[in-house]
C-alpha cells in the first residue's frame, strides 16, 4: 500500500508489515531449530532456541504497540483496519509459536539418555508437516492468498491424527516400560506442542482469508472438505444420489 494521501500512514503500515515479516522469519527459524535439535539431540541448539525467545517477545511487544498507535492515531477503516487487526492477531499467533518452540527445546536435554525413543514416534513427520504449514500460512497471509490458506487448513487434520498416533504409541511404551514413563511424558508434550504449532499456522491462514475477503472464518471449519465456502456444514446430499 503506497497510495494514501497521508504518506506517514503509508510509512507506518509498511513498517508494520516489515516487522511482521521479520518476526515471521525469526519464529520460523526458532521452530526449525527446535525440531532439528530434537531430532539430533542437539542440546546446544536447543539452548540457542530458548535464548532466542527474548527476541520474539521483543517483536511481540513492538508490534502490539505499533498496532495500538495506528488504531489510536490514524483510525484506520476498511482494508487498512483489517490489515492492522490481522497484524495484531498474527503477532499473537507467532508469539505462541515461539513459546511452543521453547517448550520443545526445554525438554531435549531430558530425552538425552533415551535417544532412540524419539525415532520410535511420529515427531519427525509432524515436524515436517508443521513447518511446511507455517511457511505456507505466512505466505498466504502476506500475499492475502485464499487458496494457499485453504491448503494449510486442510493439513491440520494430518497433524491431529499424528498426534493421536503418538499418544497411543507413547502410552503403550509407558505401560510396557515403566523406566521410560518420564521420557514418554516429555514426548507427549512435544507432540502436543507440534500439534499446537499447526493450530497456530491454521489461525494465520484463517487470518489471510479475513484480509483478502473480510470474512471471519475461524471456529467455522472453513476450508475443510465437508464444509461450504463460508465454513457451514454442507447440506447432506438428497437421498438416492
Amino acid at each position: 500500500m503506497t497510495d494514501h494521501i497521508l504518506k506517514r500512514f503509508d510509512e507506518e503500515l509498511d513498517k508494520l508489515g516489515n516487522r511482521i515479516l521479520k518476526m515471521s522469519a525469526l519464529v520460523q527459524q526458532q521452530v526449525t531449530d527446535a525440531i532439528d535439535a530434537l531430532l539430533r539431540g542437539d542440546v546446544a541448539l536447543a539452548a540457542q532456541v530458548i535464548e532466542g525467545d527474548d527476541k520474539v517477545d521483543l517483536y511481540d511487544t513492538k508490534i502490539e504497540k505499533h498496532c495500538m498507535r495506528l488504531l489510536a492515531l490514524q483510525a484506520p477503516v476498511a482494508m487498512d483496519l483489517r490489515t492492522v487487526l490481522s497484524a495484531l492477531s498474527v503477532n499473537r499467533n507467532l508469539e505462541r509459536m515461539g513459546d511452543a518452540a521453547v517448550n520443545i527445546a526445554e525438554r531435549i536435554h531430558l530425552l538425552q539418555q533415551h535417544g532412540d525413543i524419539v525415532s520410535r514416534t511420529h515427531v519427525r513427520e509432524m515436524g515436517e508437516v508443521a513447518t511446511a504449514m507455517i511457511k505456507d500460512a505466512l505466505t498466504a497471509f502476506t500475499e492475502a492468498d485464499v487458496s494457499i490458506a485453504r491448503s494449510v487448513v486442510v493439513r491440520d487434520n494430518i497433524i491431529d491424527e499424528q498426534d493421536q498416533q503418538n499418544f497411543d504409541l507413547l502410552t503403550d511404551i509407558m505401560r510396557g516400560h515403566p523406566d521410560l514413563v518420564e521420557a514418554a511424558s516429555h514426548l507427549l508434550m512435544i507432540s502436543r506442542n507440534l500439534e499446537r504449532l499447526a493450530d497456530e499456522a491454521t489461525n494465520i491462514a484463517e487470518e489471510a482469508v479475513f484480509v483478502a475477503d473480510a470474512k471471519i472464518v475461524k471456529h467455522r471449519g472453513w476450508g475443510r472438505p465437508d464444509r461450504s465456502e463460508d465454513g457451514d456444514v454442507a447440506a447432506p446430499a438428497p437421498a438416492g444420489e
Partner: protein
C-alpha cells in the same frame, strides 16, 4: 426497501447547464440516521437540499426524477412548499439563531404556524429544548438573548427550533463542523437520541463522525451515488473500490 421514509428515483439536478446530480435512486430508511459523504463538490449538499426543495430558491435549477416522502411526490404540482418544510427541519453548518431571546427563538415557528395558545407554546418550547438536550442549561435564562449562548448551545437551539414545528425528518448540513470536540460530542449524542423519533440525514466531511452517528451511509462522487449501505459495511468492507479508496484516505 421496507420502512423507507424517502424514496428517490432517477433524480437529476442541473445548475443551468452543469449537472450536479446524476440519476440518483435511493431509499432513505425511516427513523434511522443516514450520512452523506463524499469530497467537496460531489453533490451531497445539493442532494440534501433537494429533499426539502431548498434548491427551488436558486435561479436556473432544473430537476428531473422523483422524490417521494411517505409516498407523496414533493415535486408534484400543488405541493405546499411551506407545509413541506414544516415537516422537514433543517440545521446548517453555521448556527443561525434569531437576535431574540432563547424562548422566542423556539416559540417563533409554532407561533407563526398557529400551533397553540400561550400555555401550549410554552410547553412546546420546553419540550423542544428538552429534546435538543438544552433545557437544563438554559431553563433559568429563557429571556436572555440567544446570541449569548456558546456555539454548541446555539446549534442545539437551532435543532430545538426545528423540532418545535413538529417535523418528522431532520436534514443536517455539517452541523458540527464549526464546533469543538465536546460540543461536537453533544450534537452526536443528540442525533443518536433523536433518531428514535425522526428520520435524520446528515452531510459530513468528518468520516469518523459518519461512522459514529449513522446507521446507513451514502457515498457520492462527481454527482453520482457510488455506494449506499449499512455504515458498518461501508467502513469495514465497502463493496465499491472508489468507496474503499475514499474512506481509507486515498483520494478526495
Amino acid at each position: 426497501m421496507k420502512n423507507s421514509k424517502i424514496s428517490i428515483e432517477n433524480l437529476n439536478l442541473f445548475y443551468g447547464k452543469k449537472q450536479a446530480l446524476r440519476d440518483i435512486s435511493l431509499e432513505i430508511p425511516e427513523k434511522k440516521v443516514t450520512a452523506l459523504i463524499g469530497p467537496s463538490g460531489c453533490g451531497k449538499s445539493t442532494f440534501l437540499r433537494s429533499l426539502n426543495r431548498m434548491n427551488d430558491l436558486i435561479n436556473g435549477v432544473r430537476i428531473t426524477g422523483s422524490v417521494r416522502i411517505d409516498d407523496e411526490d414533493i415535486y408534484a404540482r400543488g405541493v405546499d412548499v411551506v407545509h413541506l418544510r414544516r415537516r422537514i427541519g433543517m440545521v446548517f453548518q453555521k448556527s443561525n439563531p434569531f437576535p431574540k431571546s432563547i424562548f422566542e427563538n423556539v416559540a417563533y415557528g409554532p407561533r407563526i404556524n398557529g400551533l397553540g395558545g400561550r400555555q401550549e407554546i410554552a410547553e412546546l418550547v420546553e419540550q423542544s429544548l428538552r429534546q435538543a438536550a438544552l433545557w437544563d442549561e438554559v431553563k433559568d435564562r429563557l429571556k436572555e438573548s440567544a446570541l449569548g449562548l456558546s456555539g454548541g448551545q446555539q446549534q442545539r437551539l437551532c435543532i430545538a427550533r426545528s423540532l418545535a414545528v413538529g417535523p418528522d425528518i431532520l436534514l443536517m448540513d455539517e452541523p458540527a463542523s464549526a464546533l469543538d470536540p465536546i460540543a461536537t460530542a453533544k450534537i452526536e449524542e443528540l442525533i443518536f437520541e433523536l433518531k428514535s423519533r425522526y428520520t435524520i440525514l446528515i452531510v459530513t466531511h468528518n468520516l469518523q463522525q459518519a461512522a459514529r452517528v449513522s446507521d446507513y451511509t451514502a457515498f457520492f462522487y462527481l454527482g453520482e451515488l457510488v455506494e449506499f449501505g449499512k455504515t458498518r459495511g461501508i467502513f469495514t468492507n465497502p463493496a465499491n473500490e472508489r468507496t474503499e479508496k475514499y474512506v481509507t484516505g486515498k483520494f478526495g
